[in-house]
Amino acid sequence: MATYLEAIREGIGEEMERDPGVFLIGEDIAVYGGAFKITAGMLDRFGERRVVDTPLCESGIVGAAIGAALMGLRPVAEMQFMDFISCGFDQVVNFAAKCRYRWNAPVPMVIRGPSGGGTHGGPFHSQNPEAWFFHTPGLKVVAPATPYDAKGLIKSSIRDNDPVLFFEHKALYRRVKEDLPAGDYTVPIGKAKVVREGKDLSVITYGSGVHMALEAAEALDREGVSMEIVDLRTLLPLDEDTVLASVRKTSRVILLHEDTLTGGIGGELAARIAEKAFEFLDAPVVRIAAPDTPVPFSPVLEEAFLPNARKVLEKARWLCAY
């Protein structure tokens, strides 16, 4: 059994064995093994040439990763918390994202790190910053929900020839475990997965939302309602076909994410569904997301803030009764 965290570590380690151009760069990742210990042991295995501790400078780290990627290496840069990517934002959205389009220069790099709430991290250690990058052509955005996918996707991300933002959900790091197949496997970027078949309604989600949906689905089962769950896995490029197929099948859809509502990825999904599966819809397209506030610190507030299985269940009942 591997946790989500171990799966990512395994995936990174395998890619480093496989390709000498893969290296790690970030704050406190070498000697300390990273704030969440994702890179624990890597320094011993691969040496300080390939596991680079930097000063505290996110723009510097992202920029350096871009420069190394342009030279043909495959940097994997850690943000200690994905929230801090805002400090290296320009490098990501303007430098990394646009090189290929502008002058045909590939930037094969990964920026990865913990995101999401549920650990009382407060406004700056709990955010889900994926929507900013989802809106930036040239980037790929990956957000796995399970150990299997986390390992398969980090490996694909490292092999990808475009810049990938890899959002790990910190509340899943040690909470979800599963057996992983022995040896090398990858999960393709850009492919969603129907993680649960159903016929009455669809939940389209990713990351922590998958687990909320699964919990709600079991309760609904007992009520005789069958929920289909699509785990997007990759947010950009979006696997529209799998989403639309599910909606066309069930005719009812909930778009679920932990990120805040307005401007979140649910909007984009709703738009595609309202345009391309319009004739199939039997009910309004419903979104469940965190409300439009910063992530509050105090447990009672954070609990009220975060989506959860109960909130999914309530909306699902409403939707099925529509």
Binding site: Y32, P55, C57, P123, P296, V300
Partner: protein
């Protein structure tokens, strides 16, 4: 007035230095006591929400600087400057409540631990992004100058912050505009696990002063008198309209980065070495040697302190959590 505070009120007799030393002692020991309680007790009892960053061994910095300021000077404490709050009248009870996510904390449970601010007290709450406060402090300094006051803005940060672009942009902007900004670096030689020599290729943070055309001095950060005097020079410089002034306080982080970090990456000898330089112990020795305080006053003081902190913890534990119905409030100014 609590009994503990009595230590500061020396009726007659002792001179200014003695008086100052008692104020140093009061705030440094209170900060230590509050942080010890948080880190060594409440955190282990799982009563604290979120991360715990304490400043054991570094108390001389906020205290030495803080007592050089006027109430109208605007402070930007970093995550190892708890005494700043105490000196501006935030009680230990509010601090414990803050760390427990209760309504009685300075942010009412919206944000946690050292992310506290209160505009009425001229304290600005930091955000997590290290170094981000430097340009903001420059802007506060700009406003103080704009308004024609002679107040200063004081920005605290660690050695780690000096690697951030914001640090550079903020200081440079303030220097060019000759803004009344005092920059206080807590150089505790580590940023999380990263030792100073992996952060910068120059020997001292103060070596960066010339890059901005501003004075920069190095001070023993474990000597509260030295810190205080440097702060007075810095504040005077800024008040006189001469622009920013940087103080680098050399000290050592006597803990892990936060309560969950055993700091295995720090050579053990360093802890032993710096233990000898503990700023509170040094202060106490000097006070006793100079007759600024009597031995029995010291033990009484610590007894009082413990009682004060006990009471504050009790208050905070009884304090309610915020009402989840308020979750959506105050994202924007409420419509009138």
């Amino acid at each position: 007035m609590s009994v503990a505070q009595a230590v500061m009120n020396v009726a007659e007799g002792p001179g200014e230095e003695a008086h100052l030393s008692r104020r140093f002692l009061y705030y440094m020991s209170l900060m230590r006591e509050v942080e010890d309680r948080i880190e060594r007790k409440l955190y282990r009892q799982s009563k604290i929400v979120g991360g715990v960053y304490v400043a054991r061994g570094q108390e001389a910095i906020p205290v030495g600087v803080g007592l050089a300021l006027e109430p109208e000077d605007v402070v930007f404490p970093s995550h190892r400057d708890l005494a700043i709050y105490l000196m501006r009248g935030v009680g230990p009870r509010q601090i414990f409540a803050q760390y427990m996510g209760r309504i009685g904390g300075l942010t009412g449970g919206r944000d946690g631990n050292m992310h506290m601010g209160d505009l009425k007290l001229n304290i600005v709450a930091i955000i997590s992004a290290i170094g981000a406060c430097v340009p903001v402090a420059a802007g506060a300094a700009l406003a103080l100058k704009y308004k024609g006051t002679n107040n200063v803005a004081v920005c605290f940060f660690g050695d780690g912050a000096t690697s951030r672009g914001d640090w550079h942009e903020g200081i440079n902007l303030a220097a060019v505009q000759k803004l009344p900004l005092v920059l206080v670096c807590n150089n505790n030689q580590y940023a999380y696990s990263t030792p100073i020599e992996k952060q910068m290729a120059c020997a001292n943070v103060a070596d960066r002063g010339p890059a901005y055309g501003i004075p920069a001095e190095i001070v023993d950060g474990n000597d509260v008198f030295a810190v205080h005097e440097a702060a007075q020079r810095a504040v005077a410089h800024a008040r006189d309209g001469l622009g920013p002034y940087l103080i680098e306080c050399k000290t050592f982080r006597m803990t892990g980065h936060s309560a969950h970090d055993p700091a295995d990456y720090v050579p053990k000898e360093l802890f032993a070495e710096w233990e000898q330089k503990d700023p509170i112990r040094r202060l106490l020795e000097r006070m006793l040697d100079s007759g600024w305080i009597a031995p029995e006053d010291v033990s009484r003081h610590y007894d009082d302190l413990r009682k004060e902190v006990d009471a504050a913890v009790e208050w905070a534990e009884a304090c309610p959590y915020p009402d989840p119905a308020t979750l959506l409030d105050n994202v924007y100014e409420p419509r009138s």
